[in-house]
Symmetry: C2
């Protein structure tokens, strides 16, 4: 663990041929589109009611609360995304809109600091009586995150101050001291938000409150069971009496320090692990760090899809168990992979091991990007690795899998989560630790970092994900010795090449924890070329992952590929890809503005010789065929059809 | 269609090395065991409450109704099985027990003939107000079937008369005439039962009532929707208002004559199709026959597992859609395959095509036998083709799949259904039509059949399913010309050989609709040898069945085989079976009293070279292995582990 805390957030401006269109899309399309959605202005989409709820709670409108009990978190995530976007790209009009929303939010805040439109409108006397199900602290956490992001972008303290009042009030309510509630939220989120509030304000109490929530969780007696008894064994979601809450669902089955296996609702889990990592670092808490390491390892070696998706069952949107990664009944919620990225970034703050960044990149380029349509207006909540559209409609066990991205959701947590992640992408690229400057992601732009009290400017150019040419140019006031640590991605199919100021280096680099470390005295305008081998390759899964037996995926650089019906016909399951015959990589400038497609040879089971019988003596008849794979993150942008990441291979 | 109706039920006594132990098991173990279960005397098993309900309804005991709303059908099915068993094997003690139950049942019958313990005990004023959910006519139907079976076995009319009173009462309640309810049951069953009651009593009104239920179903306006409105949009199963009923779930989405695709709850469907086939034959109704043909074809060519399982999704225990036959999330309820066998037998009465008997045999030898433990005391409700025990426990999408047979079920429709089917197995072997005597199943024993008004005795010996030697000896009063039609099973991997009185025949047989027809003047003691090639063979599935791509099953004669973890290690998915290397068939006298096991070569994915990473560049590493397959119907009798019918093949 690094011995001193230093924020990983450098000043970064993204300027990258692959990513700039996305950050622009978030700014120009997604943020305005989501604003409309929050204001119920998208035709034929599920209404949000989220802004209306604030108007009602603020006394500006009459009406009933609408939407999910945690609907407040959607405007919060939107506002957080706006904050990040304004930081990178000032926009007075958007800022005015956001200021207006902040005025509304603050108007809905109660005199004691409490803020929650559901309880304010609908159950004013029942605050904190159903922490298990009603997301009050979860919504508080999202609003705190928004407040910090908006304050950091604009310097405006209105929402930050309001959220400090809310945090102060929460601090007065929760704790193990007599007269306080020894509870914590059913949906973790406030824990990591309080860390951000502490970092933004320096107020230690917020850090201690976060610590309290983390360490109180899972302590006996079970708070949620006691609370459920006090409520008369009722539920927010159902009429009548309900069974007692499942502790594993929200990771309160054990004190967090004793947890080793990721269980329960995946988003709750990773939000909590992220906060645990924050606290491990800030408090130099080795026991927490060990728990984080175990949980990270369990997720990423046994419960993660090749796309970076996690949480394989839609029952409880949850982890199931080791190696249970079905492609078709998958859940893999967008928010869960975003939370995994949060967790990864925090682990990287503690220990600079490329594994964390590899996973971050895997989830970012495949699952998160793939969850959004190219035009930014449609989203996947569930991110399947195999789709048979008819089954999604007609087999109820797959109803949760949508073959096409949706305009909006009744529970629309994912779209604003994508927006806030991409709008803050600059926070994930670099970090500095002591005399080392780490490059975790290869995304072009300008950054200013502090290495041992001195500012280092770094300009990155990257041709990823399509090609592996990455270049850096340093800007230094004066020569300075430090270590530049460049990630060697796990997907490198050969050796990465380094040259400095035009000279190829071999001797001066050593690989430490997956980073090429170049320790030298750097001078202004030094140029570093970092050439990564980006080649299509076949990937196989661990034999314990039953669903992948006999199958292979294709990956090229950080991108996982898939087959779509449009290119390959249906059923895709009839194809056996020929792993021995080589993969042809072709840049197709017409497709989605230019992408590499991968083609190869295959055999197709011969359906022509079948009549109506469902079974017959084995003939293993097939005929030669070709296949064409496209990047997974782009699937479903050309109409509806089958899709498959893992395909039979010989 | 045969031009004249003749009951398919000949007098048959089973005496067969394979089947006699099963009929004895039903008699000696299953019937007594299930009696205990119905009386809540099985330790650690879900209580039934079924007999107690009758005692309470009869005023012999105080208490609350217990169990499912359709719990009455369990004792009915038990009693029906007892009837069949007594017919084949008189047993005064069992008969006394059954007489006592009948006394109890009749004591619970209401003065107007109504019989239903749920409504009598719990909702006496609400008869016929929730046909959609409450199974009153379903339970009535089962009790009618029991009454007929018991009457035919013992000649005792008490229950038969009681059920006629009930049927008369039902006839006075239901119909399209003014003042009657134009309804029908939410769970079809009474339709086929009324046909049996008609056949046993000759009372045409029962046939007309059955016809009414069949033809009224699916007519507009939707009876179940109207009934739901009348109830205030409530449900038996849930509190509060519920959405309007789904018509497809119980096949009331269309008039039955217009149906072509099997949809909805599978047991409901096949019970109805069986009644449709009954009526098509009895009323010479060609339109109904055409509907039966379409539905049969849809099920058996597109919605049936290789084991004879049907209804692939546990959501609604239902058919999903064509070619959607997942092996792991499967439902394939035991009762559904039993209903398919009912349907098949009735189709055979109309048209003697071997396809019907092939399916009957497939479901009987694989799914139905496999649903029961060898000792007759444990049962599968769901019959999977692939089991990963840990997933059954830890992945909620597979909780319905049990890796081990259960002692009893809260909803225990299946165990007594197996008992009544096996106890009446004699009814499925032969049929006569005009001058033709058909042998559908090769099961040893003695039978007397009527061919053109003359009695033909036939003695069958069969070495199936293990070997293909089948022999017949005729008993005739005088020489008689008729056609002996022997089924040529679809699984024959070569030519079936016929010899008569020691002489091999080739010329005199012709294959008509899958039956070898031998038309000659037969004399007493004629001996026929019918030698079927029983050899292990690989089977593949239609390419549209996505779940079977790249996989093969193994079948030997009528038996489908499977791999078990005990013989092959785990994960089974690591094995690729070598289809080119031949299958070794060995009789293992130690295993389950003697069965053929099938062995062959395979390759096993090499797990040894893996470390903790979940994904890696494709190596396709494997090492030679052997595999051993056992009959599917015997799986899970040697402890818990993985099982798989369809395995990767090369």
């Amino acid at each position: 663990m690094s011995s001193s805390f230093q924020t990983i957030k450098p000043s970064v401006r993204i300027d990258d041929p692959f990513w700039t269109p996305y950050t622009a899309l978030i700014r120009d399309k997604v943020i305005p589109y989501q604003w409309k959605a929050l204001n119920d202005q998208i035709p034929d989409a599920a209404p949000s009611y989220a802004i209306r709820n604030f108007r009602i709670a603020a006394g500006l409108e009459e009406g009933e609360f609408g939407g999910m009990v945690f609907q407040d978190s959607d405007p919060a995530k939107w506002l957080e995304a706006v904050g990040y976007s304004l930081a990178a790209h000032p926009d007075p009009e958007l800022e005015e809109l956001a200021d207006g929303l902040i005025d509304l939010i603050v108007a809905a805040q109660q005199p004691d600091g409490y803020l929650n439109t559901y309880f304010t409108i609908k159950e004013p006397g029942l605050r904190w009586t159903n922490l298990h199900e009603c997301h009050e602290l979860y919504c508080a956490g999202h609003m705190m995150e928004a407040a910090v992001a908006y304050y950091e972008a604009t310097g405006k303290r209105k929402l930050l101050d309001a959220m400090c009042r809310f945090a102060d009030y929460i601090d007065s309510v929760f704790g193990t001291e007599p007269g306080k509630l020894p509870g914590y939220d059913g949906h973790q989120e406030i824990e990591l938000a309080l860390v951000k509030l502490y970092e933004a304000t320096g107020e230690e109490r917020y850090l201690r409150l976060s610590q309290y929530f983390i360490d109180q969780r899972g302590q006996a007696p079970d708070y949620f069971v006691e609370e459920w008894e006090r409520r008369g064994q009722t539920s927010y979601w159902r009429q009548g009496k309900v069974p007692s809450p499942s502790a594993a669902y929200n990771q309160s089955h054990l004190p967090v320090r004793e947890q080793s296996v990721a269980v329960g609702h995946a988003v709750r889990a990773v939000y909590m692990y992220a906060a645990m990592a924050d606290l491990a670092l800030l408090k130099q808490d080795n026991e927490l760090l060990e728990a984080c390491r175990r949980l990270w390892s369990n997720i990423t070696t046994r419960q993660m899809y090749v796309t970076g998706g996690i949480g394989s069952t839609h029952h409880g949107e949850a982890f199931s168990f080791d190696y249970d990664l079905p492609n078709d009944t998958v859940y893999a919620e967008t928010c869960a992979s975003i939370g995994l990225i949060f967790f990864a970034r925090r682990m990287l703050q503690m220990e600079q091991k490329s594994d964390y960044a590899d996973v971050m990149e895997r989830a970012l380029y495949n699952l998160v990007l793939g969850s959004m349509s190219l035009d930014g207006t449609r989203y996947f909540y569930v991110n399947p690795l195999e789709v048979w559209p008819e089954a999604c409609e007609k087999n109820p066990g797959k109803h949760h899998v949508k073959p096409e991205r949706q305009k909006w959701f009744g529970c629309s947590c994912c779209p604003p989560n994508v927006a806030r992640l991409i709008a803050s992408l600059g926070d994930y690229i670099y970090s500095t630790h002591g005399s080392k400057l780490f490059v975790h992601l290869f995304i072009g732009g300008e950054a200013e970092l502090v290495v041992e009290q001195e500012t280092v400017g770094i300009q990155q150019q990257s041709a990823l994900p399509w090609n592996g040419n990455v270049g850096f140019r340093l800007r230094l006031q004066r020569p300075k010795r430090f270590t530049l640590a460049l990630r060697v991605p796990a997907w490198c199919s050969g050796e990465a090449l380094l040259s400095i100021n035009g000279e190829v280096c071999t001797d001066s680099i050593r690989i430490v924890n997956g980073y090429a470390e170049i320790d030298r005295i750097w001078t202004d305008s030094d140029q570093i070329e970092w050439t990564l081998p980006v080649r299509a390759q076949w990937v196989e899964g661990h034999p314990s992952i039953r669903a992948l037996a006999g199958k292979a995926a294709i990956q090229r650089g950080p991108l996982v590929y898939c087959l779509e019906e449009l290119d390959n016909g249906a059923p895709l399951s009839s194809l056996t890809l020929a792993s021995g015959s080589g993969l042809t990589e072709t840049f197709d400038p017409q497709l989605f503005g230019g992408v590499y497609v991968i083609e190869g040879e295959a055999a197709r089971d011969d359906a022509g010789s079948w009549s109506e019988e469902p079974y017959r003596p084995l003939q293993l008849e097939s005929r030669p065929a070709a296949f064409r794979a496209v990047p997974y993150f782009l699937w479903g942008n050309r109409g509806r059809g089958e899709m498959s990441v893992w395909n039979r291979v010989q």
